[in-house]
């Protein structure tokens, strides 16, 4: 039976059909749906770990003990998991282990565009790159088999358009889930220098065998075409090339580490002009050039962003491979430009209050990653920086120690999921090194940004079971933070008061701004109304960046459909024109 599945759902299906016993990961677009789908299959244990490093370590344990395992994360998650990853190829596995790295060319929902194929080379993993959902499912299964056959972790590298595009997939029957026997083997699994050196040599041998496999696997194949133009490509680019150059010869690489060098040489010899089409870095190109093969790559195709067939047509046109397509008139030529429609904090979002306050207090704010990063955009503009998950706390401490002028004027803001992911160690450091910094934990009781996943402080796990709920207040106290205040961010005056007093107090302080995400607990109260007499059109309420508020004919207008009655604007309004539901306790 064929079904229309996204790449992510297909990967989950592949894990289900091929005997995966344990699945672990941390949410991150575009990888999240893999575990969400797996958690609905019976017979597979799945979990959200607090971060990617832990997720991989959980996976390593399961695989070492003999279970087939999948670990999922977005591309930047692999940075967090890099430490265990870089030694994992040394020890190898027992049960197969597939690490899904979901890259995001074009940065649809990421802070950078890193090309994780280099991780496979760096960490000496086998790497598979699917170009559609069927391949995603098949490569998941094959990846497990390769992992076991060569005693090597396998990276299944997707990109947004593979992960989030749907295409037809032939479903199969699940095989029996079996655990391979485990026996203690310190020379393989205990990476002290003496044993590490042995495994380093073993790894070189295993890599050589894999390279041989790569030459012969049907994952790498030639689509025969004319001998004038040859293209070497992988992943989604393969589909684009097939669309744009249906007659060209194509070497499609499904296994991109190690590369089938002999196959590449053979292919190159068959065609007059050779191109490499790959998004992001010249990963294939560099290795092909090392073979002394002449090839056109990044001098023609961009380094940045996502490719599409229009772009490839233009590039191949420039190279004289395609005749320039006739200039068609843009139907939008001469029409006004559409103003942007940026995502904004939802009506009723508790984060809004915090950023409004931080901006009013003119503080320097080191930020972090989550929905709340939107609080850095106009008109809220309540964040100065966002680097990676967990960075806010260390950065605030660095400012506190280095720049006297900003001392007492700096706060870190971090979401609850992000705090548990990688903020705890930053806070520990702030305590240990006698920081005076103030940290605001935006505790909306969920991982909102990636679609409301549970985490260790929500009281529920991925399998939908009740789970112990980490007490964030107690956690901070136990790290040595003496001053921990919990505030309801919707109580603006108290929030402001607490922030003002904590920033000037010596020693580290934590303010937990706690209120559930507005989408999580939909309690819609009567919409705010505007007293037309009292409204002076001062636009103070617009500074909240609320999707329910606008100014029409110089008076504030609250759109009743959009307003959830959170009452923030009522508190902000200087003239008492905004009137509405009450703040509950």
């Amino acid at each position: 039976m064929k079904e229309l599945l996204s790449g992510n759902v297909a990967i989950a299906r592949g894990a289900f059909e091929n005997g995966v016993i344990l699945a672990a990961g941390y949410p991150g677009t575009p990888s999240t749906e893999i575990l969400e789908t797996l958690s609905r299959y019976k017979g597979i244990y799945s979990e959200w770990a607090p971060n990617e490093k832990v997720a991989l370590e959980v996976g390593i344990g399961a695989a070492m003990a003999g279970a087939r395992t999948i670990v999922t994360m977005k591309h930047v998650g692999v940075n967090v998991a890099a430490d265990p990853l870089l030694s994992l190829a040394y020890t190898g596995v027992n049960g197969g282990l597939v690490l899904v790295s979901a890259d995001d060319p074009g940065m649809h929902s990421s802070q950078n565009e890193q090309d994780n194929r280099y991780y496979a080379k760096f960490a000496k993993l086998a790497m598979l790159e699917p170009s559609n959902s069927q391949e995603a499912k098949d490569m998941m299964g094959l990846g497990l088999a390769i992992s076991e056959q060569f005693d090597i972790p396998v990276m299944l590298r997707t990109t947004t358009r593979v992960a989030h595009s749907q295409s037809m997939v032939e479903l199969g029957e699940p095989v029996a889930r079996e655990i391979k026997p485990y026996s203690k083997d310190v020379k393989k699994n205990l990476m002290v220098p003496a044993f590490g050196r042995l495994r380093r040599i073993s790894l070189a041998e295993r890599t050589a065998k894999l390279a041989e496999y790569s030459e012969n696997t049907p994952l790498n194949f030639i689509v025969p075409g004319n001998d004038k133009v040859g293209v070497i490509t992988s992943g989604i680019s393969f589909q684009l090339v097939r669309e744009v150059l249906p007659d060209a010869s194509v070497l499609k690489l499904g296994m991109t580490n190690p590369l089938p060098l002999e196959l590449i040489k053979k292919f190159a010899a068959q065609v007059k002009t050779l191109f490499v089409v790959e998004e992001l870095e010249p990963f294939l190109e560099e290795q092909i050039r090392m073979l002394g093969i002449q090839v056109t790559g990044k001098e023609l195709f961009p380094y940045t962003g996502e490719y599409n067939q229009g772009l490839l047509r233009r590039c191949f046109g420039e190279a004289g491979v395609l005749s320039a397509s006739p200039q068609v008139e843009d139907p939008a030529a001469g029409l006004p430009q559409a103003p942007p429609r940026p995502p904004v904090l939802c009506a009723g979002c508790p984060h809004r209050a915090v950023f409004y306050t931080l901006r009013r207090l003119k503080l320097t704010v080191t930020g972090d990653i989550g929905c709340y990063t939107l609080g850095g955009l106009p008109p809220l503009e309540g964040i100065d920086s966002c680097v990676c998950m967990g960075a806010s706390i260390g950065m605030a401490h660095g400012i506190d120690k280095a720049v006297p002028d900003l001392k007492g004027r700096t706060v870190a803001v971090i979401g609850d999921s992000t705090f548990l992911h990688s903020g705890i160690t930053g806070l520990l450091n702030a305590v240990y090194n006698n920081s005076d910094s103030t940290i605001i934990i935006l505790d909306n009781r969920t991982t909102a940004m990636t679609g409301h996943q549970d985490h260790p402080a929500t009281g529920r796990n991925l399998m939908g079971q009740a789970a112990p709920e980490v007490d964030i207040t107690m956690l901070c106290r136990s790290l040595g933070v003496k001053r921990v205040e919990v505030v309801d961010p919707m109580d603006l005056s108290r929030l402001q008061e607490v922030i003002k007093s904590e920033i000037i107090t010596p020693g580290p302080s934590v303010i937990i701004a706690r209120r559930p995400c507005a989408l999580l607990k939909r309690e819609i109260k009567p919409a705010v109304t505007v007293d037309q007499e009292k409204c002076t059109g001062c636009k103070t309420c617009l500074k909240l960046s609320c999707p329910a508020i606008s100014i029409v004919e110089n008076k504030a207008l609250v759109t009743a459909d959009a307003c959830v009655g959170c009452n923030l604007c009522v508190q902000v309004c200087k003239t008492g024109a905004m009137q509405g539901g009450q703040v509950d306790a």
């Binding site: 595009s165 103003p339 940026p342």
Partner: protein, 198 residues
């Protein structure tokens, strides 16, 4: 030989573009199309733009539609129609819902919502079919069915029989909402037979 069709569905988070693309895919699958659907819903719940690309053909390679390639743009909102208009191919059709949802920069007074979007697009010689999907959905009994009104209008343009659409609706929509949605579909489908001018 199935005629290849590229449909771009554009709208604002919460307007039901995803359900519409599901029904379309189910109908296309029933007639034997190869299908690729690609979605970017950049924080859809937070009021951002949503774009779903649906490609149908005997064999579809790229999941993406490039500028100047869409046979049909199904626009759930006027500004989004304007934003994605360059994706329409010469001779293609824009089906547009006459609904305006102001983005925050407009609400905040830092950007302007362009005036008379529909008339301006028509003045460019584009085939435009205008629907009052929201009003029609309300008169069918559920404002949320506006997406299915639009789908009905799209169905009119595609080489897939009505019966297959009905089955696809039944397979995709929960039973208790099916009747309203069938009525909504009819509303769009019959509007689709006549070109409405402004």
């Amino acid at each position: 030989m199935l005629k290849p069709v590229d449909v771009l569905m554009v709208g604002v988070g919460g307007q039901g573009t995803i359900l519409a693309s599901k029904v379309l895919a189910a109908a296309a699958q029933a007639v034997g199309y190869d299908i690729k659907v690609s979605e970017i819903h950049g924080m859809a719940q937070r009021g951002g733009s949503v774009v779903t690309q649906v490609r149908l053909g005997e064999r579809v390679y790229s999941p993406l539609i490039s500028e100047g390639e869409a046979d049909v743009i199904l626009a759930f909102e006027e500004l989004e129609a304007l934003r994605w208009l360059s994706y329409l191919k010469p001779g293609g059709t824009l089906i547009i819902n006459n609904q305006q949802i102001y983005p925050v920069p407009v609400l905040a007074g830092v950007a302007e919502y362009p005036q008379n979007i529909i008339a301006q697009i028509q003045s460019r010689g584009v085939n435009v079919q205008v629907l009052k999907a929201l009003e029609q959905a309300i008169s069918c009994g559920n404002a949320k069915a506006a997406n299915v009104v639009l789908l009905g209008a799209l169905a009119q343009k595609l080489p897939i029989e009505e019966k297959i659409w009905r089955d696809a609706l039944a397979a995709t929509i929960p039973p208790r909402l099916l009747e309203v949605n069938n009525t909504a579909f009819t509303a769009g489908f019959t509007v689709g037979t006549v070109s409405v001018g402004c």
